[in-house]
């Protein structure tokens, strides 16, 4: 048991150290996120009421796109230099290895993204209760994205064309988007948001339970 925890921490630490040493990927992903958020208002003018209405949605869409683009980062280099192959040959369970990878992705890419989106929503002057709900939905929703995404990355990494990855992730992320936006819209008109947030929580628990197993199965398929 302790051995497994040790291995998990070692793998996690390794990915984090790599991310800290080579910051370009992580900074590019955040810059992409911020640029997209500032691009959206250009498309529907300077009507501040419209901006208020659409800002939470576009923060969510930008987070989704940024996650899609960043997911490949955690896995690709490890696939190319054979690290993944070494890990699958080791005697540790693949679910453990994939959980560590997924968690590393969330900490490196999604956690900073949530912090920045908080600042962004303050700059764009959203009401505080909307910011709170946005924060909670991002906190619950982005790990689901990392979890689902990691399965799809393992399935598609190294195949021709990177569009395939987005094609697989985006439809499956639709329910997350729908429930998050429902919660945010309810918050905007001062109504209860607990139902949607519980649903997101439920999806997160389901994803945490099943996604590492599916990622491990996908790894086995790709390594065979």
């Amino acid at each position: 048991m302790f051995e497994y925890i040790n291995i998990f921490c070692t793998l996690l630490k390794r990915d984090l150290v790599i991310a800290i040493r080579d910051k370009t990927d992580f900074i590019n992903s955040l810059t992409f996120f911020v640029i997209i958020i500032f691009l959206f208002p250009l498309t529907y003018g300077t009507d501040s009421e419209l901006i208020m209405k659409f800002t939470p949605g576009m923060i969510w869409i930008s987070a989704l796109l940024a996650t899609c683009l960043s997911l490949e980062g955690v896995f690709r280099s490890d696939f190319e230099d054979g690290t993944i192959e070494q890990l699958t040959l080791s005697r540790y369970p693949l679910t453990l290895i994939s959980s560590a990878k997924i968690m590393a992705h969330w900490i490196i890419y999604s956690a900073p993204l949530i912090v920045i989106s908080l600042f962004m929503s303050l700059i764009l002057s959203l009401p505080t209760n909307v910011i709170m709900v946005l924060f909670i939905t991002l906190l619950l929703g982005t790990p689901i994205l990392s979890l689902i995404g990691s399965i799809m990355v393992v399935l598609t990494v190294g195949l021709r064309g990177s569009m395939l990855l987005s094609l697989l992730i985006l439809p499956l992320s639709m329910p997350i988007l729908i429930f998050s936006i429902l919660a945010i819209n309810n918050a905007a008109i001062n109504q209860s948001t607990s139902a949607e947030i519980y649903f997101l929580g439920g999806m997160l628990v389901l994803a945490i339970t099943l996604a590492p197993i599916a990622t491990a199965a996908a790894l086995r398929v790709r390594m065979s």
Partner: protein, 244 residues
């Protein structure tokens, strides 16, 4: 039991049986189509609420049933591919994807056309429509994923994993009408002993459902035969059978 599965899974056995079965299935399909269309378009009376527009039901409901049914076949044969690696299961999955996507597209398209006179709009973001749309994307993702592998076997197993993840969507589609109160009307036939529509309307619907299902099986069998010949290119039985 396992021996039976293996025998059924052997390509030659399957090929011989499918040649006989597919003819009969084709005949049943054609009869049911003609009878169902005649019953639905000519005999059945107009609906007291929706007038004649309800007649879209005869192509819309079977298509959406089949979209779920084919996906379940896809997922189950995916699971069999992952666990037992029976070749036939991979052929079934591969051949089901395109026809399943077609059924899903038809369910969405005919539903949109039906929605225009009934709801006043082609599309609403209601739970059932959205989850059916996700199903269409799942089919397309499956096709895209398994065809982008050079090694067929790896492609089949990667696709199987995707298909199994997508199964989560199936109960959501099925119960969406009951869980969320939405614009989409409830199921027409939830219990067979007391259906909510009259028999003159119900029987054509069931005939159309049989027609769709046999249509699926018919194309599936032909596709599987093609796959078998492609993969068993050098087997002696193929040479013997097609050679003469």
């Amino acid at each position: 039991m396992y021996r039976w599965i293996q025998q059924f899974g052997s390509p030659k056995y399957f090929y011989d049986i499918s040649l006989v079965v597919s003819k009969w299935i084709g005949v049943i399909c054609l009869i049911c189509f003609i009878a169902g269309l005649y019953g639905g378009l000519v005999i059945a009376p107009p609906d007291y609420q929706q007038g004649d527009s309800y007649r879209i039901i005869y192509i819309h409901v079977p298509a959406s049933w089949m979209s779920l049914f084919v996906y379940m076949i896809l997922a189950i044969s995916g699971a069999i591919t992952l666990i037992w690696r029976i070749k036939i299961a991979d052929f079934v999955a591969r051949s089901s994807a395109i026809i399943g996507a077609s059924f899903t597209f038809l369910a969405l398209a005919t539903g949109a056309i039906w929605g225009k006179p009934m709801w006043g709009t082609y599309w609403v973001w209601d739970a059932r429509l959205t989850s059916e749309l996700i199903l269409l994307f799942l089919y397309l993702g499956y096709i895209a994923l398994q065809s982008s592998f050079e090694d067929r076997r790896v492609g089949a197993r990667a696709g199987a994993i995707l298909a199994l993840i997508g199964v989560i969507n199936i109960p959501i589609i099925h119960y969406s009408v009951e869980w969320w109160s939405t614009l989409h009307q409830g199921p027409t036939i939830s219990k067979l002993d007391a259906p909510s529509i009259h028999y003159s309307m119900l029987i054509p619907l069931l005939l159309m459902a049989i027609a769709y299902k046999t249509f699926y099986i018919y194309t599936l069998l032909i596709n599987i035969r093609s796959e078998i010949i492609e993969s068993e290119y050098n087997a002696t039985w193929v040479k013997k059978m097609i050679g003469d």
